[in-house]
């Protein structure tokens, strides 16, 4: 390849990839010689945004940036696919290969020549995928399963394999070639399968429409799930049951009762945020928070409502359930209720210029207008006086 053509290809890659950072998942760079891929991921990794799709086609709700942790939950839910688009169009290099290596390890030419599947050092994920040819150009718009990365690492309990993993995207001239890649790019992802610690509930409030729950914030937490069991003892556990109703009832409770125990919400148990059995209210904070306010009206008559908090870290790992706290739903009396009950040294019904829900009195308007008009008139009068003086 001449330097001029290499430059043109590099320029095309720039236009396609780097100028659209939000959508370009691949930024190509040229290897003018039979170079190795031993270099560390470049600074452009931060521009990588890949959407992950489960095996069933269901979209994973988060986007993964280069270097963003890929958590256990994302791995165990199925194959994770990295969607790639914006690859450089090249008639000369129509084959795409994707390799990965642990850490910031290399996938150089010699490593790729071995083609050893499952090797920790350099493992191919996709071999020589030839892409669609349109007008002699290769149109790369494909997905690459990185599930093997999860499988090879997430099952390890010692956590030694956690941490950075490097994906290498290569464009080659021929299928299965061990040639030096003309276009290559390395991206770093990071596996993090350690769950965050469970939050610690510090306050479970009492009230009618504003029942506060407070908890402490585990480090590295980005999100919280709050689960409140308002079934009054009727909610089944995930274990199923063999009683008449086919349910395992909350411990010490009977259907229709109103204790504050829950068989479903148990301290230290795993938590499934996607489960929505009747009688369970699950709320996500979607932010770092240490406080939440429940509306007791959502609990449909329950008086005692057990609640747990579950933390989620940046990789999507969930903590186990916190200790079970108890929210209390009770009718409350505020200032206005007491005022209406006649306790004040004033009118029981403040009529003029007062409004209660459903009622409104507009007598204040006339009171408002007159003094304002006087002031405005005074201001204009002052202005005329000043002009005359000038």
């Amino acid at each position: 390849m001449t330097r001029k053509s290499a430059y043109l290809l590099w320029l095309a890659a720039l236009m396609i990839g780097w100028n659209t950072p939000a959508s370009a998942q691949f930024a190509g760079t040229t290897g003018s010689t039979a170079g190795s891929l031993s270099s560390a991921p470049s600074a452009e990794d931060g521009n990588l945004i890949v959407s992950m799709v489960k095996a069933g086609g269901e979209e994973f709700t988060e986007q993964m940036r280069a270097g963003t942790p890929l958590g256990l939950r994302a791995c165990i839910q199925g194959e994770i696919e990295v969607s790639i688009s914006g690859l450089p169009n090249s008639p000369l290099y129509p084959y795409l290969e994707v390799w990965y290596a642990t850490g910031n390890g290399a996938c150089n030419q010699a490593d790729r020549a071995t083609r050893v599947v499952g090797a920790q050092n350099c493992t191919p994920l996709e071999h020589s995928r030839q892409n669609e040819q349109i007008n002699s150009f290769s149109i790369f718009n494909t997905t690459v399963k990185i599930g093997p990365v999860c499988r090879l690492n997430s099952d390890q309990t010692n956590g030694a394999a956690q941490g950075p993993q490097t994906l290498f995207f290569l464009l080659l001239q021929s299928r299965g070639s061990a040639e030096a890649a003309a276009f290559y790019k390395a991206f770093t992802i990071r596996l993090d399968t350690d769950p965050p610690p469970a939050p610690d509930i510090t306050e479970a409030g009492e009230g009618q429409t504003d029942i506060r729950l407070k908890w402490t914030l585990p480090t590295m937490t980005t999100n919280f799930y709050l689960a409140a069991d308002y079934s009054m003892g009727a909610l089944a556990s995930e274990d199923g049951g063999d009683n008449d109703a086919g349910l395992i009832l909350d411990a010490g409770a009977t259907p229709g009762g109103n204790g504050c125990s829950s068989q479903y919400l148990r301290a230290g148990n795993d938590f499934d945020p996607d489960a929505r059995p009747p009688g369970l209210l699950v709320t996500s904070t979607d932010s770092i928070a240490t406080e939440w306010s429940f509306n007791g009206m959502d609990f449909r008559g329950a008086k005692k409502v057990p609640v747990v908090v579950v933390a989620q870290d940046l990789a999507g790992n969930l903590s186990v359930q916190s200790q079970v706290a108890c929210l209390t739903v009770t009718p409350t009396t505020g200032f206005w209720d007491r005022y209406q009950q006649g306790g004040a040294e004033g009118k029981v019904e403040p009529g003029c210029a007062c409004s209660t829900p459903g009622a409104h009195a507009g007598k204040a308007s006339a009171w408002l207008a007159a003094p304002f008009a006087l002031l405005v008139a005074g201001a204009f009068a002052r202005r005329r006086i000043r002009r005359r003086a000038r």
Binding site: P371, A379, R383
Partner: protein, 248 residues
């Protein structure tokens, strides 16, 4: 349009008109006598023996606050531990000035006071849910401000008395329920004593005037009596506030 929106709109218009009229009254067009005088002061050969250094005075601005506990009665006892405080900004235009003696000003003020307490359950015990009462008083007033003591006798005391009318928009909630809202109307009377800071540091006061156009600064303390009408929520009473005022 609700009463609150009408009031806010009117208030905005008042401030705008007051500012525009006061500012335009002080405009000096090019070529006028005042401008010529200023130009001549730049020339040391033409500089007059006496040079007025004070910038024009147009407004008084007061920023003040203080505890606000004007309630009485069993219903208000829920707020017995909460004293606000209230914060108020008051802007007045100078309508009349008798040099070194007194001002007559008129303008308005806006403030905020919030009260929060725990609601009570059926047993009368406080719970974590809160009940709130927020007050936004809008005041239109005229003020007689006497500065003869500091200007002629160098006694740093300013005296002022203010009379006007106040519209207080109130809103009360319990938990996430909006219980009620409305307006409480009534006249106000305020007595104010202020410590004139210019007397203590005339050089600094002059520099402040030359740099920022602030003619006078003072620390104020005032007592206000607010008498709400019979049909209003009785949130009136006596309150006091301290703050900082400037004339500019």
């Amino acid at each position: 349009m609700s009463v609150s929106r009408i009031s806010v709109l009117a208030w905005t218009c008042l401030c705008f008109v007051t500012i525009v009229t006061s500012a335009s009254a002080q405009d000096v067009k090019a070529g006028t006598a005042a401008n010529t005088q200023e130009a001549s002061q730049m020339d040391p050969m033409l500089k007059p023996a006496y040079r007025k250094i004070e910038s024009p005075e147009r407004f008084f601005l007061e920023l003040k606050g203080g505890p606000h506990r004007v309630f009485s009665g069993e219903a208000y006892d829920v707020f017995s531990d909460d004293t606000g405080p209230n914060f108020t900004a008051q802007l007045e235009g100078i309508l009349f000035r008798l040099p070194k003696a007194l001002y007559v000003t008129a303008g308005g003020g806006i403030g905020y006071t919030g009260f929060t307490a725990n609601a009570v359950n059926e047993q009368g015990q406080p719970v974590s849910e809160e009940t709130t009462l927020s007050l936004v008083p809008l005041t239109a007033a005229a003020t007689l401000r006497i500065d003869v003591l500091p200007r002629r006798l160098r006694i740093p005391l300013l005296l002022a008395v203010r009379g006007g009318f106040r519209w207080t928009q109130w809103d009360t909630n319990t938990g996430k329920l909006d219980d009620a809202s409305g307006w409480s109307l009534g006249p106000i009377v305020t007595g104010q004593v202020a410590l004139d800071l210019d007397t203590f540091e005339p050089g600094g006061a002059r520099a402040l005037d030359e740099e920022w156009g602030i003619n006078h600064t003072f620390l104020l303390a005032e007592v206000t009596y607010y008498a709400t009408t019979d049909k209003s929520l009785p949130i009136g009473g006596t309150s006091w506030a301290i703050g900082l005022g400037v004339a500019f």
